[in-house]
């Protein structure tokens, strides 16, 4: 395997091919090589959830995923879970509820919550709290985030 072998995968619905050395993590590939900077680097160590993306629909920490291992898979980032125009129901609810302050954690929360609502369209409050328990927010205190996700679940029905 050459160290700059071409990596090919689907990114937000579109096929991409990009050279990628083995030690590159998905987060760096997205932000630095593909210029998709919606996905945030918080801790870079698995602790904060800011870097969450969906790999084959599964919430995944992109800072702890070797980019090479998404070869042939489908990756959705915050740019992809948003519709081409406007906001998805989770994003709209975050705005309506003021569930974002500095906004740094928001992409991670939106990706995690979008995945939750896809697999469980009517989560209980406890299920929401549990699903986002790997995302850290240093500003909001979480209450508005939880309420926004509850609201998004109601309006999506």
């Amino acid at each position: 395997m050459s160290s700059r072998e071409l990596l090919s995968f689907r990114l937000n619905g579109h096929p991409v091919e990009v050279p990628c050395p083995s030690p590159r993590v998905l987060l760096d590939l997205l932000r630095e090589d593909l210029r998709l900077t919606g996905t945030k680097r918080g801790c870079d160590l698995g602790t904060c959830g800011c870097c969450a993306v969906l790999v084959d629909g599964r919430p995944t920490l992109s800072c702890l995923t070797l980019a090479r291992l998404v070869d042939g898979r489908s990756v959705e980032t915050i740019e992809g879970v948003s519709p081409p125009r406007g906001l998805n129901p989770v994003q709209a609810a975050f705005v309506a509820h003021g569930a974002t302050q500095c906004g740094f954690c928001t992409p991670g929360f939106v990706v995690t919550a979008t995945a939750l609502l896809r697999s469980n369209p009517r989560p209980s409050r406890a299920e929401i709290e549990r699903a986002i328990s790997g995302n850290l927010c240093r500003c909001t205190g979480y209450i508005k985030i939880i309420e926004a996700i509850e609201d998004a679940a109601r309006t999506e029905e």
Binding site: M1, S3, P21, S22, P23, R24, V25, D28, D44, L45, G46, T47, G49, A52, R58, P59, T60, L61, L64, T65, L66, R68, L69, T112, R130, A131, S133, G134, N135
Partner: protein
């Protein structure tokens, strides 16, 4: 944070893994979910020039009532509600590993072989360099128990104690074929605290097997951590067995998060079989386990507190143990 260069290998069968591992012995690490290994690599902790990714090895995936593939992800076990109902104590432990985002990638095998943790080890290269490093990586002394022979970093996996009390066995593939051993025998208390298992070069953990338990078995795993949705265990207590106020039919107790290896206390629980499980008996057992464990000061909570909590958590584990229900 950048990873040092390494060569990535992607074998697809167990035989291929073992061949590669034998050839690369000492110069590689297996990569399962990477949620433990990659943070360590980012901090330049014992990074190797080769990584053997287990991602594509089908045989390592999947689970049934009696077998957990080494590469089965914790989130997939958690999502299986039937498995959850039939394996109460184990499910407690799975659901309390890290966070849902970490469990989405983290695997059973990676959890059993998670690296030990220490306040002086899980730090950046720069931080560690200011202290002259330590035995476990790049140095020649220990900052916790000053001497130069042994590392006292803490075993911080949640699944091991919960599986030890179920008499779980591990299936290992190696250059001379497959073998099964009790999970307890995977861990080697005779090591220096850095080498902690009996896995030989080329060995791969394939699966965990769960033998059928006694009828009416109850189980519970209780975990002490600082942030209840996040942290590694500062203590984990697992109990499993079949008992009532008349008589103990079987009983196992294991503790993790306080020493370099998880530990089962058969010499304390075996004599209780056939006797009634009175509150006094539980208290005596809790006190004795608490007396024996030896936490050191290398995690967030002070060792004296962690040790005192051992007794408390043993009593709680018994009080909350519940029976698995079928289906």
């Amino acid at each position: 944070m950048h990873l040092d260069p390494f060569e990535l290998h992607r074998p697809t069968t167990v035989d291929e893994v073992v061949r590669l591992a034998t050839e690369l012995a000492g110069r590689f690490d297996y990569l399962a979910g990477g949620t433990d290994l990659l943070p360590n690599y980012k901090m330049h902790l014992n990074a190797k020039p080769h990584l053997v990714a287990l991602e594509d090895v089908r045989e390592l995936r999947g689970h049934s009532d009696s077998r957990l593939g080494a590469m089965e992800r914790l989130a997939d076990l958690e999502a299986d509600r039937t498995f959850g109902r039939t394996h109460p104590g184990l499910t407690d432990a799975i659901g309390e590993v890290a966070t849902p985002l970490v469990r989405s990638s983290g695997t059973v095998g990676g959890n059993l072989l998670v690296d030990t943790r220490c306040f002086f080890f899980n730090q950046s290269y720069f931080w560690r360099s200011s202290l002259g490093f330590c035995l476990k990586a790049d140095g020649d002394r220990c900052h916790v128990v000053p001497q130069a022979e042994r590392c006292y970093a803490t075993f911080s996996g949640d699944l091991a104690p919960a599986l030890l009390v179920l008499d779980a066995e591990v299936e290992v593939a190696g250059p001379s074929g497959r073998r099964r051993l009790p999970l307890g025998a995977l861990y080697d208390p005779g090591g220096d605290g850095i080498r902690r298992t009996r896995l030989a070069p080329g060995d791969l953990l394939v699966a965990v097997h769960l033998p059928p338990g006694p009828p009416g078995r109850r189980a519970r795993y209780k975990k002490l951590r600082v942030r209840p949705s996040y942290d590694f265990p500062e203590l984990g207590v697992a109990v499993a067995g079949a008992w009532d106020s008349e008589r103990v039919r079987s009983l196992r107790l294991a503790v993790g998060g306080v020493e370099t290896l998880p530990r089962r206390f058969d010499d304390l629980t075996d004599p209780l079989v056939g006797t009634p499980l009175t509150p006094e008996a539980v208290n005596r057992l809790a006190d004795e386990v608490q007396r024996r464990v030896r936490p050191v000061h290398n995690t967030f909570l002070p060792p004296d507190y962690r040790r005192r909590m051992v007794g408390v958590y043993v009593r709680r584990a018994f009080a909350e143990a519940r029976e698995g229900s079928a289906g």
